[in-house]
């Protein structure tokens, strides 16, 4: 196969970026999209040009490091797939492919296709946990959790924190990420004591970094784990309820 890549190059967050065009010939359709970049980089190094910087680590679709906007789509054209699991057999010989970093003000470009997603960590630090210090736990089977509840929590917990939802959103909103994090814990019995504080703290932290959600739904289309925007509705419900609840009197229902 032979493809032409238009790749965003930017030396640092302070400098202007630009597109560079690279012809990449003699590639196999069994390559992953990142292996295409590996090959491109090896060839650039051989020519004495600096390789393209991009994030990747596990290359099995679970660490959430890879992050490429491919022809305007976060992680490319295949649904439910990270860039590292996208293979060249999904493209045609001769294709011209445009590759950009995640597009969102909240994810500043560090270099080329590498962006800074640390705002996600700030959201989790503000409430995305259950306060269960090591050693204090009861027996794991002491609390029964209906399978349906555990499964729903798991559906939310699948989020790999890649940021595709933000990159795909016309508003640069992080509601799908935040909802997945909030609802993973808010659905579970263990998450109940901190449920409403969690909703408020995480939503407000999210709002301080990201744009607002207007229910476009692009996020769930882009999500490599196919997390549903239903979780956003559930998070909004908890956030609204939290405004009405006086937490000191929660025990009174």
């Amino acid at each position: 196969m032979h493809v032409t890549l238009n790749v965003w190059r930017q030396n640092s967050s302070k400098e202007q970026g630009r597109f560079e065009t690279y012809d990449v010939a003699d590639i196999s359709e069994d390559m992953s999209f990142l292996e295409l970049f590996d090959v491109l980089n090896e060839r650039l190094i051989a020519k004495g040009e600096e390789p393209v910087a991009f994030d990747s680590d596990c290359r099995e679709g679970i660490c959430g490091a890879c992050s490429m906007m491919i022809d305007g789509q976060a992680h490319g054209p295949e649904k439910g797939t990270t860039t590292c699991q996208l293979h060249m057999r999904k493209f045609n010989d001769g294709d011209v492919i445009t590759v950009e970093p995640w597009r969102a003000t909240s994810f500043p470009v560090i270099k080329d296709l590498t962006v800074d997603r640390s705002a996600f960590d700030r959201i989790v630090e503000s409430g995305g946990y259950i306060d269960a210090p090591t050693g204090a736990a009861q027996d794991a089977n002491a609390t029964l959790i209906p399978k349906a509840v555990a499964d729903s929590a798991m559906d939310a917990a699948q989020c790999i924190g890649c940021g595709a939802c933000v990159a795909a959103c016309p508003n640069g909103a992080a509601n799908l990420f935040t909802a997945a994090k909030v609802m993973h814990l808010n659905l579970l019995p263990q998450g109940q004591p901190e449920r409403y504080d969690r909703a408020i703290n995480m939503v407000e932290t999210m709002d301080s970094y990201f744009g607002s959600c207007t229910n476009h739904g692009e996020c769930q289309e882009a999500c490599p784990k196919e997390i549903s925007i239903d979780f956003i509705a559930l998070m909004n419900k908890d956030y609204v309820k939290a405004q009405l609840k006086n937490r000191a009197t929660l025990s009174q229902g």
Partner: protein, 642 residues
Amino acid sequence: MASSEKLNSKIPKGSMADKWNNHKFDVKLVNPANKRKFTVIVVGTGLAGASASATLAELGYNVKTFCFQDSPRRAHSIAAQGGINSAKNYKNDGDSVHRLFYDTVKGGDFRARESNVHRLAEVSVNIIDQCVAQGVPFAREYGGLLDNRSFGGAQVSRTFYARGQTGQQLLLGAYQALAHQIGLGKVEMFPRTEMLDVVVKDGKACGIVVRDLITGDISSHSAHAVVLATGGYSNAFYLSTNAKGCNVTATWRAHKKGAFFANPCYTQIHPTCIPASDDFQSKLTLMSESLRNDGRIWVPISKDETRAAADIPEEERDYYLERKYPAFGNLVPRDIASRNAKTVVDEGRGVGPLKNGVYLDFSDAINRLGKHVIEERYGNLFQMYERITGEDPYKTPMRIYPALHYTMGGLWVDYDLMSNLDGLFVIGEANFSDHGANRLGASALMQGLADGYFVLPYTIGDYLAPLLGEGVVPTDDPVFSAAENEVHDRVDQLLSIKGTRSPDDFHRELGKVLWDNCGMERSKESLEKALEEIPRIREEFYKDLRVLGTDDELNDSLEKAGRVADFLEFGELMVRDALHREESCGGHFRVEHQTEEGEAKRDDENFTYVGAWEYTGDLASPQLHKEELEFEEVHLTQRSYK
């Protein structure tokens, strides 16, 4: 044989079942109000590092945590699929702490320290409680109880799992606990920061030197103790199931500062990975071993077979594991499953376009249980397989082949998980302690969390308590500036070679030498060949490496070059260890030492010891120290899974 004087394993007195309890009572305590007077550095944020950071901070210590990833949540523990063992006996099938202990010692081919393994089995029970309390969404039965499954090499169902992504869910639990402490200001977190040296003063680890991967700044951090939780060294082989960033740099740098490296030749090959398809392959993808519960492994009887799998009649298939090991069948331990796959592929009976795999066939399970059950158990794995290969495993069998996956060797530690350097603790895959020569499935997650949540937080207090009132070594001390200078020099050296070959190119070359000569099978001849090749590649590396760009920016090539440089040194030690160990055990298979049936043949009389290597300044002549292993509870027997 007596143990080397330099290796005091500090195994507590008492019966095996009492040792840990006795020890917990005997260790010195740091008063709650005094814990904030101590600073601890943790390097790495996988299961071990994240759980240790969070737990130490909860106890009140000041913690500084470092990872090279952009977020602590991405450490490679995240990729573990199958599950985590625990001796809960929820299935009432005869499991117990003793059985998990026994299975682990036996599975490790009698090359692990019994006392450590027993402690691991004991705390395995607490881990599940802790994880559930944190909100880890383990799979459940309809009644709301936790579900379990049996997992590679175990005859009881003791494995807890969360779909096919147990590693991610456990890591998120530990990461969330860590994030909580970061939010509270008890942990100072340094992402995208790579440790490039350990600093030692008067025989004690007192800090580290790191490089900020975005700005290139090199800086020092000091502490009362340093904890390495930096994972294993499978990527020495270039192609492995490890994430691209996994490396040996932290442990190798510690080794060069005096920490002993134990059993580096114990490497584990995972039996169920997707076979390589071509030279550009950047890594190998693992398919969870849990697939072996429902999949049947086979190859055609004839090596001239050309038909599609479904067209090959039953009587022309060889279900070789079921045939050779009727009691365990497809669930034999990893090393046995791997070597048998190599045997049939070497016989020319491999499947796939390159004839480099064996079939893992689900058609019987789908007929017996229905497609929806298989989909529920392995849906995401099947999807992943289809994405990578373009084949649908519901219709045609998967093709699998072994790949490097985990390393049992690591820095030598005593019962307290402290290396021979005072104040340098090593936890998780980075240490050598619990898995002997072979790790059982679903035990890596267990060990990482055991060390981080339940062992280190107790044992580190025993080291810190007497230091009360002592400050940390200031980072303007000459030991720090000397270490920083060394790091600067190394970085400058890599950038100044200006040769023609990329770091990856050298890494691939090293990987091939190691895989061919020190991989699934090793011989005196192959190992000696590797010892000729590796120094040659190293020499070439320092003559012809090309790293473009500068040291004051994000520079992926520079990061890789530093890691490859360390692999090039470490690889030689691994080969020397493999050459010296004239026996076969677990993941270390010397062709000269096998039974008539082709099984690993141990030499208990001469090799029942931990081989811990000391760096002497000359890579060609490391000094071997031996820790004799004594087996009080589990009697040495030849492993048999027939």
